[in-house]
């Protein structure tokens, strides 16, 4: 089994922290992992992406081929759409629905969301709003990770949740607790979506 994830967002949003948590969990489960990151110029507010590949056998390329990714995990809706040609037919888009507008020609928001929601497998959630609502402004990325958890079948959800704790352990008990809650909020949000309408 293999899972290829394109992580995307805007420089400074924290996609590499998500990659670190997933990487920790994958390593703990004995999976093989390759993760290509973007450093340098584009980190200054430009579009950034990371190719994260997990497998229970070996992985050849550091980059994910077109049309094969199992997931686009994005902290920004336009950045999720940017990598659409990399998504496999059955792949999922899990993205923040909050636009990050640091350019003058950001597309029309309604059209953007319409195009995003027209994709066959998409979960768009307002992680920024949820983070504010639960007084955890710095944990939007962990909420997003929680939302992605049930789609990452190669990873055990409990192991992934524990990795959140291990990655934040050096920042103290309170930060760890907040991020556990953030993970659960994202996870529960998606679970509710999957329940049949009453």
């Amino acid at each position: 089994m293999k899972t290829d994830i394109i992580l995307s967002g805007v420089g400074g949003q924290g996609i590499l922290s998500i990659a670190t948590i997933i990487g920790e969990a994958a390593t703990r489960m004995g999976l093989t992992l390759k993760q290509a990151e973007v450093h340098g110029m584009s980190q200054r507010g430009g579009d950034v992406q990371s190719n994260l590949r997990l497998s229970d056998t070996s992985i050849a390329s550091d980059l994910i081929p077109l049309g094969t990714a199992d997931m686009i995990l994005s902290l920004e809706p336009m950045e999720a759409l940017r990598y659409l040609p990399y998504l496999g037919k059955d792949g999922w888009i899990i993205t923040s629905s909050t636009p990050f507008k640091n350019i003058p020609n950001y597309p029309d928001e309604e059209k953007l969301m319409a195009e995003l929601n027209a994709q066959p497998h998409v979960v768009a959630l307002d992680v920024e709003g949820l983070a504010k609502e639960h007084q955890m402004p710095k944990s939007a990325n962990v909420i997003l990770l929680g939302a992605a958890a049930s789609f990452l079948q190669i990873l055990d959800v409990q192991t992934l949740r524990e990795s959140v704790g291990r990655i934040f352990a050096s920042k103290g008990e309170a930060v760890v607790e907040t991020n556990y809650r953030a993970f659960d909020i994202g996870y529960e949000y998606v679970k509710r979506l999957n329940q049949p309408a009453l």
Binding site: K34, E37, M41, G46, P65, M78
Partner: protein, 539 residues
Amino acid sequence: MENNKLLLLGDQAIALGAIHAGISGVYAYPGTPSTEITEYIQESPLAKERGVHSRWCTNEKTAMEAALGVSYVGKRALVCMKHVGMNVCADAFVNSAITGVNGGIVVVAADDPSMHSSQNEQDSRFYGKFAMIPILEPSSQQEAYDMMGYAFELSESKKLPVLMRIVTRLAHSRAAVAVRNAANETACTGRASVPTDWILLPANARQRYKEVIKVQPELIKLAEETSYNALSVTAGGTAEKGIIACGIGYNYVMENYPDGCPYPLLKIAQYPLPAEKITRLAHTCKEILVVEDGQPFVEEQLKGVLPSTYIVKGRLSGELPRTGELNPDNVKAALGIAGAQVYAAAQNVVPRPPALCNGCGHRDVYDALNRVAAGYPDAKIFGDIGCYTLGALPPFRALDSCVDMGASITMAKGAADAGLFPAIAVIGDSTFTHSGMTGLLDAVNDQSNITVIISDNLTTAMTGGQDSAGTNKFEAICLGLGVEPEHVRVVVPLPKNMEEITRIIREEIEYKGVSVIIPRRECMQTLNRKLKQKRAEKK
């Protein structure tokens, strides 16, 4: 530490491999994608315990020369840089093959095909061939780690520096690496084994050059024998094609053949080229596809190895794109495999170029320059390499050039010599000490009519905030180079000081000679990092 597995970037694997090979120092100037090699050594507990030198150098040339000194006294040194840094250290690098080494020297050049964070995509393997030294090109993080110890042994056994060439996708990709026990540092002998080798007077240099030529067949033999250059030939008959895959190109080939490559395949990770293995490969197939990242280094050389009628395909023939990095998709196309069905590109997506951070002092510098330049329609502003190059993009569009480290000052000088007024240079603090100081001396000696802005944010910001060699020394450097004291001006780039800054820029433009204005305010990124650290310490 035995058989321990660590999750490492390619850069970090190289760093740990070098520490474990017993280096006494790393000498480097920051440059994407090479920066993380030195940073890893700076943070490594083992390197700290051993007192491995890891402070940043002023530029790649001072780095290479310091490494030569380490080698002279018998110790091992690592030198790291991005590809264009090779141009800066080329004098020392090429001559290091003539002096030869005593303690091992490994030079890591991190190439950036596709120019993710660079101004060209030159292929450093040409430098290795030019200097006639062994080149290693690892295909994976594990190989990068393993090759480090091998590289130092190779350097010492052949008495030559060794070049390791990597590309962005290896430097900045993470994978698990099995690590070994650390070797001890080599002992300091305090002297070179053959002292005259290091005195490159023509008589000595001619002798040494002959020796470098003489050792070439041995280097080729090593490339033929090493397991890093693995030839696998399919059984029976002549195959439709064979493949030569260099460095990371091997991974992209194998990505397309998960059940094993059906064609004869030669993986190359050590140069000079193993001509005999290539000839053996050619005998098993009708044509050869060369998969190499960067420029057609191997593809061109094959013409001298194989008969002229033999078909060689690659970047020159158009099977692979002539520019840009390799990826699994362009390699797939070159292998003649149909691509997967893909979603069409989305409609509502626009480019999101990088920009100067909010609150960055460079912003206020460009704001001021644009205000002043509005009054001088002929003004040209020569830029340089760093975050502030982003001043060329909207909303500022403030720069007229960006070429290489230090070129802002010297280009402004040349343009002023040729009659341009006003000729303004914008250079960052770290770039100024890297390659701007000598140009400023030229301008002073020529009494050129230029205005130099040293935009000082107290760090090497573009590469992530490394120490800058000239911090707290800029006024003294400018005065020492002969700039008149009343024309070395310091300002604080903040919106509230705009009136003062623009007035000073105007005054110095009007001064007929060399003037230097130093807008000084700390980088927002390093400032925020320090504040965060302080808050964490308080808790």
